[in-house]
């Protein structure tokens, strides 16, 4: 469990801003920090990890005090036992894949977790590869394995997937979820992608100008609308095919592609790549059990 209250003056692009937040995460939570750039998302991760010192407040992890302004406690990052993953991977270029992962082990002999992670992240074939020879997706898998090799309880992901193309993102999302479940982690992810958030998180904290303006489940945050749909999903438009009067949208919802027919001018503003809400009202869905 993580419980914290953080306060600090930050200098953003538009001038000074006071970051003032408090939140509580339970073990096993997958939380997303959502908000515009400059809202303070990365600063929150840096304060939790110990890279940035809050001016006021506290951070408690279970019974451990990581930071307390009043009591002047500030545990250094090395002792906080967190896993930290950056957008630019930050792998060590002087080491190969295996060495990067082994580097984080407290004792060189305890290779069990490292081997398990290499297996989970399917890095077996890449062990001896140089970092420069890996694709972005492969590099991020190495970074994830490295971050978890010393068994942290809290995983902090700072936009880890935003440099990757769509296909690679979907795959990496699976890997992250797998790690989150296998090691019963508490994970905080900074993300801008509603589809990604709905797929992965159980809680969203919306940050605006240094304050949380909305918190809730991803569905309640992103599908709040005037529709009173019987069922509704969010998805991404993979293709838009124009016929004579109608257009057919191919929409990816989870792992399934559905086709939807609409009048051309009704969906003129929707393009390939858009995030969309798919809802149905008038029909009763047919639910059958899958054998």
């Amino acid at each position: 469990m993580i419980e914290c209250k953080l306060k600090k003056e930050l200098s953003a692009a538009e001038g000074k801003m006071i970051l003032n937040v408090d939140f509580r995460l339970n073990e096993g939570d997958f939380v997303v920090l959502y908000g515009n750039s400059g809202a303070g998302k990365t600063s929150i991760l840096r304060m939790l990890s110990g890279l940035l010192r809050p001016e006021d407040g506290y951070i408690n992890q279970d019974s451990n005090v990581w930071f307390n302004a009043e009591k002047k406690i500030d545990i250094p990052i090395q002792k906080r036992k967190i896993g930290l993953v950056f957008q630019d991977y930050a792998l060590f270029p002087n080491m190969n894949v295996e060495e990067n992962i082994y580097f984080s082990l407290p004792q060189k002999k305890d290779k069990k977790t490292a081997e398990e992670l290499i297996e989970l992240m399917e890095l077996g074939n890449l062990r001896k590869q140089k970092i420069q020879q890996l694709s972005g997706g492969q590099q991020q898998r190495v970074a994830l394995a490295r971050a978890l090799a010393r068994k942290p309880k809290l995983l902090l992901l700072d936009e880890p997937l935003s440099a990757l193309d769509h296909g690679m993102r979907t795959k990496l999302q699976e890997y992250i979820l797998k790690l989150h479940k296998t090691y019963n982690l508490t994970t905080i992810l900074v993300s801008h992608d509603p589809a990604e958030i709905i797929k992965m998180a159980n809680k969203v904290l919306v940050l605006e100008n240094g304050k949380f303006t909305k918190t809730g489940t991803p569905i309640s945050i992103f599908s709040e609308s005037k529709l009173s749909g019987k069922f509704q999903f969010t998805g991404e438009v993979l293709a838009k095919i124009d016929e004579e009067v109608v257009s057919i949208l191919h929409i990816l919802i989870g792992n399934n592609v559905i086709k939807s027919v609409s009048a051309k001018d009704e969906i003129a503003h929707i393009q390939k790549g858009d995030k969309v809400l798919v809802a149905s009202k008038a029909f009763n869905p047919i639910v059958t059990k899958i054998e």
Binding site: L51, F86, A90, F92, P93, N94, A147
Partner: protein, 223 residues
């Protein structure tokens, strides 16, 4: 006599480079990481030998460490160390004179490393020392090499400072560049020619090796 002065030059360059590496690397790291307001002052001081006439530097060292100065008397009395007209004096002067050639490449090497590299190592529980030796230094090898070779080459090419504070004592302070001057003064052109040619080839080879190695490691990063 030629070989004596050449050997002295190499000895001076080696010792100077070694000392500079030990002093310059932490200094460069500090400069690349510090947010101190005094940073520009330190950077200026380190760069001064680039533009200051070597004679000025030599003159001040002469004044500061001469037999009549307090510092000179103190060092001589307590440690028996005479820095003027001696080899140790040359080493001191060379270290100051070649400092920017060691510090600048290494500083820009450190600055070019992404800050996340350091932070990732800290987040993996590694101390500042471990991070410095295992992550920072190995990833700026081309910069380290450039610093080492440039300082070495620059020390070989020293003349003004050496003349001011070392004088022209055979086997003690008569390095190759001074010996060449000496031979020319004595109209001894053939030995001046030999020494000059050796220094020319040596400098060319040293610089060529830097460019070759740095191009190679650049290619490796681009690929």
């Amino acid at each position: 006599m030629i070989w004596e002065s050449l050997w002295l030059t190499l000895k001076l360059a080696l010792i100077t480079t070694l000392l500079l590496f030990v002093i310059g690397t932490p200094l460069a790291y500090w400069l690349s990481a510090t947010k101190s307001k005094t940073k520009p002052v330190w950077e200026t001081l380190i760069s001064m030998p680039l533009i200051l006439p070597p004679t000025v530097l030599g003159f001040y060292i002469l004044i500061a460490f001469g037999q009549s100065s307090f510092l000179g008397k103190f060092l001589d009395g307590v440690f028996g160390l005479q820095l003027v007209f001696s080899f140790s004096g040359l080493v001191l002067a060379s270290v100051i004179y070649s400092l920017p050639f060691m510090v600048h490449p290494i500083q820009s090497g450190f600055s070019s490393l992404p800050i996340h590299l350091k932070e990732a190592a800290y987040s993996l529980g590694k101390s500042k020392t471990t991070t410095f030796f295992k992550i920072m230094l190995p990833n700026i090898k081309p910069a380290l090499l450039t610093g080492i070779v440039l300082s070495f080459a620059h020390t070989i090419g020293e003349f003004g400072v050496v003349l001011m504070i070392g004088g022209n004592l055979p086997g003690e302070t008569r390095v190759a560049s001074i010996a060449i001057y000496d031979e020319v003064e004595a109209l001894n052109y053939s030995s001046a020619n030999t020494l000059s040619f050796i220094l020319f080839v040596l400098s060319f080879a040293i610089l060529l090796s830097v460019y070759l190695i740095n191009n190679k490691s650049l290619n490796r990063i681009v690929k």
